[in-house]
């Protein structure tokens, strides 16, 4: 039974927040921050899979996010709402509450397929050269979307508000927040299980010594495809959620700027540390909001913090360690099943 303690704690936390929202204890602004935390957790932990665990240097994570955001949004608007461009709803709008996770997943799969654009070149190149490829993929995605007029091109795409309204019509609960909680839990759960299996540790072996990994029976190509597709797929899911939180997306959101933001979260939390990524995503989201009064100067102060971090703690908050390694007592609550190993 103790195995489920972390799951229960997480469910309890989510319920608590939803309850607070329902009883008007959290204003719209705080709700927004909480939802962004969730999205950022997915983004940073999924990027950590590639940059931290596999030791590659992907700088185009926002590109995959964009793919997921657009696929999910377009599908939802087309299927569940009456739209000027896509015409009347194809399916009864009320079914959105069941089918939203499906469209989210389709967005994730679409993003994972775009992830192949990086995975395949990674067979031959790595390090700085692969970083340039990821940057290129980021731009390819952004520019392609800008040039597809059917989905708004550079003007952006909206209508997700109506999708959310369709959900709200069925039951007046904070639907998107629920999906964000579900998506975040799901992503962290997948990554946790993946990196703690012998199969998943293959990507860490690739980071430490790729040649030794290949010669010691790790199918490095398959592992790279798996890691890149999982990482970009989860970014796509995060993108889908992000689009529905804001209700409006445009290609300009998913530039290198956004990718950098995700990278900062990963490096802040520490490479190869899942709990580090989660904590830093939460912390970074809060910092961003705390510094909002500084306005533009925010983007002077935050990079400055990054410089200080790199100077004094280059491995991040928890480089290659988990929270349970730092506070062994937490293991009893967070990862009791590990003890048998």
């Amino acid at each position: 039974m103790r195995r489920f303690v972390p799951h229960l704690l997480y469910a309890l936390l989510c319920l608590l927040v939803v309850f607070a929202v329902q009883s008007d204890l959290l204003n719209a602004y705080l709700q927004l921050i909480i939802m962004f935390m969730g999205v950022n957790i997915i983004l940073s932990s999924s990027l950590n899979l590639v940059n931290g665990y596999m030791g590659e240097f992907s700088v185009g994570h926002a590109g995959f996010m964009a793919v997921g955001a657009y696929i999910t949004s377009v599908l939802n608007v087309w299927l569940f709402t009456s739209d000027r461009v896509f015409g009347p709803a194809v399916l009864p709008p009320a079914s959105v509450i069941y089918l939203f996770p499906v469209t989210l997943l389709i967005g994730g799969i679409g993003a994972a397929l775009v992830g192949l654009l990086v995975a395949v070149p990674s067979f031959k190149t790595r390090g700085d050269y692969l970083a340039i490829i990821t940057l290129a993929v980021n731009y390819i995605v952004k520019s392609s979307i800008e040039n597809i007029q059917g989905i708004g091109g550079a003007r952006g795409f909206m209508g997700m508000r109506n999708v959310v309204d369709a959900m709200q019509d069925v039951a007046d609960i904070p639907w998107i927040m629920l999906w964000v909680f579900a998506g975040t839990g799901f992503s962290v759960w997948i990554i946790y299980r993946f990196v703690n299996s012998t199969y998943g540790k293959g990507i860490v072996a690739i980071r430490d010594d790729e040649i030794a990994a290949e010669i010691m029976s790790v199918d490095t190509r398959r592992m790279k495809i798996t890691a890149f597709m999982l990482s970009s797929g989860l970014a796509g899911v995060a993108g889908g959620l992000f689009a529905h939180i804001l209700g409006y997306i445009n290609p300009g959101t998913f530039t290198i700027m956004k990718s950098t933001e995700i990278m900062v979260m990963v490096y802040l939390g520490g490479m190869g540390s899942l709990s580090g990524s989660v904590l830093s995503a939460i912390g970074f989201t809060v910092i961003l909001e705390l510094f909002r009064p500084l306005q533009v100067a925010k983007w002077v102060v935050i990079p400055l913090l990054l410089i200080l971090l790199m100077l004094f703690r280059p491995e991040g908050l928890l480089g290659n360690r988990e929270l349970t390694d730092v506070f062994p007592r937490l293991r009893r609550i967070l990862a009791p099943q590990r003890r048998q190993a």
């Binding site: 072996a205 010691m216 029976s217």
Partner: protein, 258 residues
């Protein structure tokens, strides 16, 4: 059926002929040494056999199966394991994990296994852990199971690397200079270890070594390479007295200063 059969193995690095017409048959159970001066192409032969390089010409058969064009992990999956001249352990993974990962080829589950914790996955992880524990016990490394390899002394790291190769459950073990950088007492232990492994695991061992004490002590048969060609083969006694070998190592007394 021979464990390993190499015919006419030739490899060029652009214009440089690294290995030329190398032939070898291992029937199984041998302890074979491959020696030669620096740059003779010994490690290249290993890299060709394990699939890291693709040979320019020639044929390599492992247990009757032609393995030209196989990728290294595919060759390993057939039951061939090797160690490296410069230790290549995974340094951010524990010793235990270092022995688990080489069992990748027999996991029997894919990406979805760990995520849904399928029965297959749980059984497989259990098997992997058991194999790793067994080998750690056999090599007396159990105590270091949770250490990171980089924090351990050199001789121990070599031992772990051999353990890692053994966790593949190979039929043929290639050791690339296992005694490099070891002190005399570590070398003695290594000699014991290699003999013991051969008998305990019933496998064929093929090793490259510069340390003559190791080679002459444990190898039953020795092949000598020079400039990519086999210049001599025979028992340690034959090799010790072979004129061409002495020439290759020490130079020709008549011609060097001529």
């Amino acid at each position: 059926m021979a464990v390993l059969e190499i015919r006419n193995l030739t490899h060029f690095f652009v214009g440089l002929r690294a290995v030329y017409n190398f032939d070898l048959t291992l029937e199984g159970g041998e302890l074979l040494g491959l020696i030669g001066p620096n740059g003779a192409g010994k490690t290249t032969v290993f890299n060709l056999v394990c699939g890291f390089y693709q040979p320019s010409e020639g044929e390599i058969c492992f247990q009757g199966k032609k393995i030209n064009g196989f990728r290294p992990h595919e060759v390993t999956a057939l039951g061939m394991a090797r160690t490296f001249q410069n230790i290549r352990l995974w340094n951010t993974l524990t010793v235990f994990e270092n022995l688990c990962i080489p069992q990748h080829h027999q996991l029997g589950y894919g990406f979805l296994g760990p995520i849904f914790r399928t029965r297959n996955y749980l059984a497989s992880e259990k098997r992997v852990r058991k194999t790793a524990e067994e080998i750690l016990d056999m090599l007396g490394l159990r105590h270091y199971s949770d250490e990171l390899p980089k924090n351990l002394p050199y001789g121990l790291q070599r031992r772990i690397e051999i353990g890692r190769a053994l966790s593949i459950r190979p039929k043929l073990l290639l050791l690339d200079e296992p005694a490099a950088g070891m002190n005399p007492s570590e070398v003695d232990q290594l000699i014991e270890l290699i003999r013991w492994i051969r008998d305990e695991f019933k496998l064929t061992i093929w090793l490259i070594e510069h340390h003559m004490r190791v080679v002459m002590n444990i190898c039953e048969w020795i092949e000598v390479l020079d400039f990519g060609e086999t210049i001599a083969r025979g028992t340690p006694e034959d090799i010790r007295q072979n004129r061409r070998v002495i020439q290759a190592y020490l130079g020709d007394a008549d011609s060097v200063y001529a």
